[in-house]
Symmetry: C2
Subunit: 207 residues, 2 copies
């Protein structure tokens, strides 16, 4: 599995001439890096008596980060798997009308999965961004830069996942599915803009 | 070394209650992920005869990406090392006036190194962003989302490194050093804004 590879090994696989793993798995990984940093800030806050009044609140935020980290780690490999299924569907035989129909149905089905999964990644990264805004506000000020990094990583990972949603939507014939997905993407982009304003404002105050 | 750890192992170390590795090493890693994706887009372009007219140009871009990838992989561990040296300097004895002087001198020296290194990371990530703009413009359109991801990763990594520069500048007494560093950071931020506009515009056209 990708997550068992070394950093060097993962980077080597990423840069190779194979399209998988690509931007989708990278998005999930960078979201996971953001979540892990958020947890570190939580730990550095829980470890300091100076922040005792926010310890309970901080524990809740850390648990929410942990949940997202676990999901994003899982999505690193899942994104590559779903992408490989699309590639496989494109390679199905197309000699007879029946084969053509089976192939097109499979392609459409897997393309939907290959846009639904990065949407879930994007949604989870939005959560990481929201949690980063919470932790930079209440957390240990010595780790404010780490909390700001967590938020920046989450935003970039969200956008990276969105590009992966969009590139697949371009080949999906089901207009209702495409319209619904586009509207859901617009919603999370709008929410992320509000959160980024808050993150940058707090980062500028504390760093 | 951090880069020899598995993805899972690195994330576990990142989220732990130790401040190192933290946002600085994460910034270098995310910049490296961006560079690796850029190289992949280059490979997918060089592998397609359809893009023959840009093959020479693409080879140059890929070589530039490779150079940044190698540097950023190195900075992942270097950032944690320099941060540990700052922590060690803070723990030096301060019983006598001489000890106090030695300690303060060491802290100031390592704080400078701990802001110079993330500045270099930020500068290298700006290069990755610039190269991502080039590759999304000339590269294989099927990998346009990956090129856009490369640019987003580079921008987030640049900002993450900048937060690490800034948090250390806050404790540096050498006013000239601080002013010079701030002005250099402002320059790369201004350049990144122009490049991000180009990246997002091209991404919206191609994805």
């Amino acid at each position: 599995m990708l997550i068992d590879k070394s950093i060097t090994g993962f980077l080597a696989e990423l840069k190779s001439d194979s399209p998988a793993p690509g931007g989708g798995s990278a998005a999930a990984l960078v979201g996971a890096i953001g979540a892990a940093l958020g947890i570190m800030v939580g730990n550095l806050t829980l470890g300091s008596a100076k922040y005792e009044t926010v310890h309970e609140q901080c524990k809740g935020v850390s648990l929410d980060f942990e949940e997202r980290l676990a999901s994003l780690e899982k999505y690193i490999d899942e994104d590559t798997e779903v992408f490989k299924q699309v590639m496989k569907a494109y390679k199905l035989p197309k000699n007879t009308d029946e084969e053509k129909q089976v192939r097109i149905k499979a392609i459409q089905e897997f393309l939907k999965a290959a846009s639904t999964l990065p949407f879930t990644v994007a949604r989870t990264c939005l959560d990481v961004l929201e949690l980063s805004v919470k932790i930079i506000s209440i957390g240990n000020v010595n780790a404010a830069s780490d909390a700001a990094v967590a938020g920046r990583m989450a935003e970039a990972a969200m956008w990276s996942a969105i590009y992966n949603v969009r590139i697949n939507l371009g080949s999906i014939k089901d207009a209702d599915f495409v319209a619904d997905m586009k509207s859901r993407v617009d919603d999370i982009v709008a929410r992320s803009e509000v959160l980024m304003d808050q993150l940058v404002k707090t980062a500028n105050e504390k760093i």
